[in-house]
Symmetry: C2
Subunit: 134 residues, 2 copies
């Protein structure tokens, strides 16, 4: 979030040294996972408090699967694990950035990143186009 | 999302050329905004359908401010605009990536990115530490 109307409590959360992640009404926080080697955005996923604890404690990326309603260690079946290199929070602490050492493709479609299609004008509307440089 | 249990409908949304963004129950979709010049993650924000339309039509980044419950053209008061260079969707089309030419700092705290603090172990717990290389 980058809203400009700040209050003293906003300033506090923006400048504090206290890590106080703000989970949403479902108890989840979005996580932007990026590749330490390339800087690329690999995926967006969600953590609940337990996934965050496990990630910090283990050094492996754990998420909460909204579709399966279950904790999920990235790569637990595929082997495409994510080793945590750094964990960041944003200004208002309602989003995390996880910088990882990605083993194999991050996306379950076996692409390096989940963001493999760009939106492009075509036929008077918008179509998706595969990004060839991934 | 990178869940592994796919169905034919999952495959369809993952391989289709149709742009069909999946807004959440609040009518919003998260957007990871990155800097074309540096590749850095600048911020995570949200768009509703109108913000997405305005972004595509104008080439300027428009978002939905959850705190102000209003459409918001990034930089409309600060001047720190974002010119769209590319728009991507992820495998299941519930997240967007917006690659921009960022004018000035992206964060309202006047930092280049909203992700200016890392979580680091200290005093037996976790504390936030300013990232000096930003």
């Amino acid at each position: 979030m980058t809203d400009r109307n700040t209050s003293s409590s906003d300033d506090a959360i923006e400048e504090t040294r206290d890590f106080a992640p703000r989970f949403n009404a479902d108890g989840l926080i979005p996580v932007v996972t990026t590749d330490q080697a390339t800087g690329a955005v690999l995926m967006l996923a969600y953590m609940n408090a337990e996934a965050l604890e496990k990630t910090i404690a283990s050094g492996d990326a754990w998420y909460w699967s909204r579709s399966r309603q279950a904790l999920w260690r990235k790569g637990e079946t595929s082997g495409h694990t994510q080793k945590v290199q750094e964990l960041r929070t944003d200004c208002d602490q309602d989003t995390l950035q996880l910088i990882v050492d990605q083993s194999g493709p991050a996306c379950h479609t076996n692409r390096p990143s989940c963001f493999y299609r760009r939106i492009t004008p075509a036929n008077g509307g918008m179509l998706l186009e595969l990004i060839s440089d991934d």
